[in-house]
């Protein structure tokens, strides 16, 4: 079936669903249906290890009886299961409470234009060719150095999906997307010590992936660089979060300004809109309609039009991340963030990675974070980490088994610099983040 046919078939399912919900007495309803197929091939130590054919369907419906809500989902798209699902959502709605904030997003906010964001670039790939590419990637990693003694393999994954979202405002739209990724994880060994590391890339477009050799070589170099890690004495010192671990700091920010955290009053950034939470030079944005963007979407999970938006400008928090429910709870308007932030970016303060190391002088470069350890109610931050000790602006030796702790409120407001080294995989664009002072726990 072509993607166009598939899309119109899914649209028919959504329209039937909405009709069925109305028929069962629902005042309003919304539904999403998706279908996805893919191929995942892993090569380990030169041999094909797994060939996995993925094929996932999903359908979710939410119905509203007045302001009582019920939801249901199924992975089975055949008629009987679909009818059971609609009936289940309606049954649930008989038992939930009247909730003044419940309901579809406002009709006026529905996306009127749905531009083609160029997200569909299928890769016609058989298992043998996929294995070939993965093998090339792993070979590149294993040939970097004889100390690359073992491997968890290289995996090529390609998938294509189609989805349709619709609601009883009359909004029904959807589109096909693709996603391709190549990853590699290897082990460096010297004596008894083993260190593992990985690298990957992902893209909407097959040709957009880094070359298999670069991914493999990067994985190997990262694993090798960790050998002979030392502990560090407990201290307070400057800390540089390398670009590839910096997106987690943005995720903490976004978690703290999510509508749900705000109306629950469970965030350290409560009532801070319009206030400076970062230094003056900091600008953070999202660009949901970026062509070929890995997190792009012309409308959010409720059909609300998305658009470019500054979340922080001149260091000042511009607003929260709201879906329609949180917006009503707070007496505000949806910001098109049902489903999260899409293609987030923080502007660089201009320095290269090497300049940041020099600016830091003597401190810790963090290249791995472990565990949860982030309390968004208080902003208290404490995580396991590994990285490198830096002196005179130069990397001295790897360090491991340390903790890095502080408070996000103070970290954000004291952010010293963000590098221009933003060439990292994934949908978030950020360089490395330099902080003046954090607590390192060691021996």
């Amino acid at each position: 079936m072509s993607e166009t046919e598939q899309i119109s078939q899914l649209a028919r399912i959504v329209e039937d669903l909405l009709h069925e919900a109305r028929h069962l007495g629902a005042d309003a309803a919304e539904a999403g249906v998706s279908t996805q197929t893919g191929l995942s091939v892993t090569v380990r130590l030169g041999e094909t290890e797994t060939i996995e054919h993925t094929s996932d369907n999903g359908l979710g419906i939410t119905v509203y009886f007045g302001q009582r809500k019920g939801s249901a989902s199924t992975t089975d798209l055949r008629d009987a299961a679909v009818r059971e699902t609609v009936a289940a959502a309606c049954r649930i709605a008989r038992h939930t409470s009247e909730d003044p904030a419940a309901g579809l997003a406002d009709a006026a906010l529905m996306a009127r234009d749905v531009p083609d964001l160029d997200l569909f670039h299928p890769w016609e790939l058989d298992a043998d060719t996929a294995a070939e590419i993965a093998r090339g990637c792993e070979d590149a990693a294993r040939s970097v150095d004889p100390r690359i003694s073992n491997s968890e393999g290289a995996t090529l994954y390609t998938q294509r999906s189609s989805f349709i979202y619709g609601n009883t405002h009359g909004f029904v739209d959807g589109y096909p997307t693709t996603r391709h990724s190549l990853s590699c994880a290897v082990i460096a060994q010297e004596g008894e010590e083993m260190q593992r590391d990985y690298w990957y890339d992902s893209s909407r477009v097959p040709a957009g992936l880094s070359s298999p050799e670069v991914i493999g070589r990067t994985a190997a170099e990262r694993a090798l660089a960790r050998l002979h890690g030392r502990k560090l004495g407990t201290r307070e010192c400057p800390v540089l979060f390398r670009a590839d671990v910096a997106p987690s700091l943005l995720r903490s920010l976004f978690g703290a300004i999510r509508g749900q955290a705000v109306y629950r009053k469970s965030t350290f950034l409560l009532d801070r809109v319009g206030e400076k939470i970062f230094p003056e030079w900091v600008a953070i944005s999202e660009d949901p309609r970026k062509p070929r963007g890995q997190a792009s979407a012309p409308f959010d999970n409720e059909g609300v039009a998305t658009g470019y938006r500054e979340i922080v400008s001149h260091g000042t928090l511009q607003g929260y991340l709201l879906d329609s429910y949180a917006a009503r709870k707070l007496g505000l308007t949806s910001t098109g963030n049902a489903g999260g932030v899409r293609n987030a970016a923080i502007e660089s303060s201009g320095q290269s990675f090497d300049m940041l190391l020099r600016d830091m002088g003597r401190g810790v470069l963090i290249t791995e974070l472990m565990g949860q350890g982030t309390n968004l109610v208080t902003g208290d931050y404490s995580r396991g980490a590994a990285g490198f000790w830096v002196e005179n602006g130069e990397i001295q030796y790897p360090i491991e088994e340390i903790t890095v702790a502080g408070n996000l409120n103070e970290m954000f407001s004291g952010l010293v610099a963000v590098g221009n080294d933003d060439d990292i995989p994934g949908s978030t664009r950020t360089g490395s983040w330099l902080f003046e002072r954090m607590t390192i726990g060691g021996d």
Partner: protein, 480 residues
């Protein structure tokens, strides 16, 4: 045939109109001369959840998940495909895709027979129907009222109730068919408290392989509400946690997540077969202090991590991983057991039909020792007493692991004193277990809340331990 297998056959074979002849055809399609092992895994799941927030039942949802996963193994190579349809043509297509891992060949069909029939560890109930809707919602409302009545500083209560009814059937290439009916319930209460403009959170819950009446008996739901409030209030008064190496005393029960991270994952068969675990090739060696005996036990009745049979049809077991500090064995699924020349241990688990099985933990705990908990705390001059934890994570290759305390206290001169803010603890699995210097006589298991993630797959697990003293562990506070 057990009652569970009978229910599984009726749901997953009879209902979609599949006969044993059909199964034999699918298996035939899957097998070739180069295929060492193969299985067909059928699953039917129904899930229901309810959420209370701001004093009202805000949300409810119902989920259907069903399908079949088909796997062919040749040496250490695996071919896998799955379908959400239980119709014969779809199963044959999936079998054709999965067998592509091996070259084409011939193989005779096997006689189909029921597999091992261990005693069921939990009743084959449907927890979605174990209470009326009114009773389910009443549980949430009573938990909400209990939390709000516990203290005037409670500002927000979010309570959730989840019931899952999972029916599985697995047939392997020897023709053995095994089925299981797996109820699973989970309740959680989260509160936000506020005092003098300062806010904190607390959360508590539990679960079991039973009906939802589990939360009514012993007033468990109300207990979770009180516990969540207590935790949040303790944290309101918390001072900055220390940073650096300290003696750490871990409370019994859920802090057993230490064992799960520090040694559990590193003892899973796949990592050891591949030589990527810090514990690889160390059977018989001293990997923990002689006070430590650690087991993985899938056979505890009604517990969240328990399984009557694993997802490959192997009966779960009581497996000794570490005995008096010596490494005894790994946790195995069928493939890794065969490749390592040992027996499967009943640890072959998968998140669903759409995922490949691999060696996973069930209920992992340390056996009790000799010391009274009070003696253990009294033995510490300056240290940390960690009572409750969030999640953890491990790098099985380097052995580094973390787990995050969300309720902890200072120990000063042998006494538990001020509460400290949440802090991450970090260590090296093989080293940290040699630092265990006292083991309490108070073994407890967690309340049934654990979910373990590995390679993107989540499965329910249990953990437990007695009070433990670790002589030196790095604590990640801000008070240097």
């Amino acid at each position: 045939m057990t009652q569970s297998t009978a229910i599984a056959r009726a749901t997953l074979l009879d209902a979609p109109g599949l006969s044993e002849t059909h199964l034999a055809r699918v298996m035939d399609r899957l097998l070739s001369r180069q295929v060492d092992a193969a299985d067909i895994y059928f699953q039917y799941s129904r899930l229901e959840s309810w959420v209370l927030e701001d004093g009202i039942i805000r949300d409810g949802s119902h989920g259907i998940e069903q399908g079949a996963g088909i796997r062919a193994i040749s040496g250490d190579k695996t071919g896998f495909a799955y379908t959400d349809s239980l119709a014969l043509p779809k199963l044959l297509d999936a079998a054709g895709a999965a067998r592509a891992i091996a070259q084409a060949g011939q193989h005779g069909a096997q006689a189909i027979a029921d597999g091992d029939t261990p005693t069921a560890l939990y009743a084959p109930v449907n927890p979605l129907e174990s209470l009326s809707e009114a009773e389910k919602l009443d549980l949430l409302r009573r938990a909400d009222a209990e939390a709000r009545a516990a203290d005037p500083r409670v500002r927000q209560v979010i309570a959730s109730l989840v019931a899952a009814h999972d029916i599985i059937l697995v047939m392997d290439n020897s023709g053995q068919i095994s089925g299981d009916v797996r109820p699973l319930v989970r309740m959680n209460v989260q509160v936000i408290v506020e005092h003098d403009g300062k806010r904190e959170q607390g959360s508590a819950g539990g679960g079991a392989r039973q009906g939802l009446d589990f939360f009514i008996s012993e007033e468990r739901a109300l207990g979770y509400a009180r516990e969540a409030v207590r935790q949040a209030l303790v944290n309101l008064d918390a001072v900055a946690a220390p940073a650096g190496m300290l003696p750490v005393v871990l409370a019994p029960g859920w802090p057993g997540v230490l064992l799960h991270e520090a040694v559990g994952h590193g003892l899973e068969g796949d990592f050891n077969r591949k030589g990527t675990s810090a514990f690889a090739g160390r059977i018989g060696e001293q990997v923990a202090s002689s006070l430590c005996t650690v087991v993985d036990d899938g056979t505890l009745p009604d517990r969240r991590g328990s399984l009557t049979i694993d997802d490959e049809g192997t009966a779960s077991q009581y497996n000794v991983l570490i005995e008096n500090g010596l490494l005894k064995g790994y946790m195995q699924d069928k493939m890794n057991a065969r490749l390592m020349g040992v027996a499967a241990t009943g640890n072959g688990r998968r998140e669903s039909y759409a995922h490949l099985p691999m060696p996973r933990m069930t209920n992992t705990y340390m056996l009790p020792g000799q010391h009274k908990p009070d003696e253990i705390i009294a033995s510490v001059k300056n240290g940390l007493y960690a009572v409750n934890f969030g999640g953890g994570q491990v790098d099985i290759t380097s052995g580094k692991f973390v787990f995050s305390a969300n309720e902890a206290y200072l120990i000063e001169d042998g006494k538990v004193t001020r509460p400290v803010k949440g802090a991450t603890l970090i260590g090296n699995g093989p080293d940290v277990m040699t630092q265990v210097s006292m083991v309490g006589d108070d073994l407890e298991l967690d309340s049934g809340v654990g979910t373990c993630g590995k390679e993107g797959q989540s499965v329910p697990v249990g953990v437990g331990q007695p009070t433990l003293k670790i002589d030196q562990l790095t604590v990640g506070g801000t008070a240097a």
